[in-house]
C-alpha cells in the first residue's frame, strides 16, 4: 500500500473516518481502459469541496497529421516511485485531501484516455492547480514514452527535448 497522504492544510476541517480512502487510487499503471469515474471516486473525502479529474486522450489530428493510436511503455518501477513522490509533494504543496495518478500502457486509440490525474481539496483552486502541476511534471521527467502511429501506419517514438542533467534540475 502507498504511504498515507501528508496532512491537508490547516484550512481543512477534521476528517471523519467514513468514505473512500484517499489512498485507494494512488499511482499505478493499467493495461486497459482507464475508469475515470472510479479514480475520481477514489479521491473523494468529506473535507473536499473541489474534486478535479483530468483525462489526457489520444488526439486524432495534430495540425494536418492524422494519428491512429499512441502506444505507451514505461520503466514501470522507477516511474511508479516517481509518481508516488510527485503525489506526496502535490499533497503537501496544495493541501490535498486525495490524489491519484493512473497511466495506461500499450495501445491507446483516438479518444481513449492514456492518463488520469484526480485531486480533491477543500477548495477548487488547489484541486485545479494540483492536477496541472502534476501533469506538467509527469510529462517532463517520468520515464514513460509514446510511439505514434500515423494514418498510414508509420510508427515513430517520441523523444522531445533533452533529459540529460535532469537529476540536477529536480
Amino acid at each position: 500500500m502507498p504511504a498515507p497522504l501528508p496532512t491537508a492544510s490547516s484550512s481543512a476541517a477534521p476528517v471523519p473516518a467514513p468514505g473512500p480512502s484517499p489512498d485507494a487510487g494512488a499511482c499505478r499503471f493499467v493495461h486497459g481502459p482507464i475508469d475515470g469515474a472510479a479514480i475520481l471516486a477514489a479521491v473523494a473525502a468529506p473535507a473536499a469541496g473541489g474534486n478535479v479529474l483530468f483525462l489526457g486522450t489520444t488526439r486524432g489530428v495534430t495540425a494536418d497529421v492524422t494519428t491512429r493510436s499512441l502506444d505507451y511503455e514505461a520503466h514501470e518501477t522507477v516511474a511508479v516511485a516517481m509518481l508516488d513522490g510527485l503525489r506526496a509533494e502535490a499533497a503537501a504543496r496544495f493541501g490535498l485531501c486525495g490524489c491519484a495518478i493512473v497511466h495506461r500502457l500499450g495501445r491507446v486509440v483516438v479518444g481513449e484516455a492514456s492518463i488520469a490525474i484526480a485531486a480533491s481539496a477543500p477548495h477548487r483552486r488547489e484541486a485545479f492547480a494540483a492536477t496541472e502541476w502534476l501533469l506538467e511534471r509527469v510529462k517532463a521527467a517520468v520515464p514513460i514514452w509514446k510511439c505514434e502511429e500515423d494514418g498510414e501506419g508509420r510508427r515513430t517514438w517520441v523523444h522531445p527535448g533533452d533529459l540529460r542533467g535532469i537529476e540536477e534540475r529536480r
Partner: protein, 97 residues
Amino acid sequence: MSSVPTMADRLPPSAAGSPLAVILFAGMAEIVGARRLEMPWDGGTVADLRRELAAARPALGPLLARSAVCVAGRYAADHVTIAGGVEVALIPPVSGG
C-alpha cells in the same frame, strides 16, 4: 512495442571485469534491436558508460546525448560510480501523459 526483439544482445567480450546489463526503452530499444545490452564493465562512472556505449553503438549516440542514465532506480549524474550488479537503464527524453 512488438517490433523489438526481447533477446539479450551481447557485445563482444573484453578481457576486463564482469558484464554490466543496460536496459533500453522505446526508441533506444528500437535502434539497438534489443531491450537489454551487456557491456563489458571494469568499473567506472556514468560518464564512462556513456563513452563506452557511444563507441560500441554509434547509432545510439545522438539520442544518448539527450538521455538520462538511471542507476539503481535513480537518475544519476555523470560523476556517479556504477557498482557491479546494479540495474542501469537508459532514459531517453520522455513523452508520457
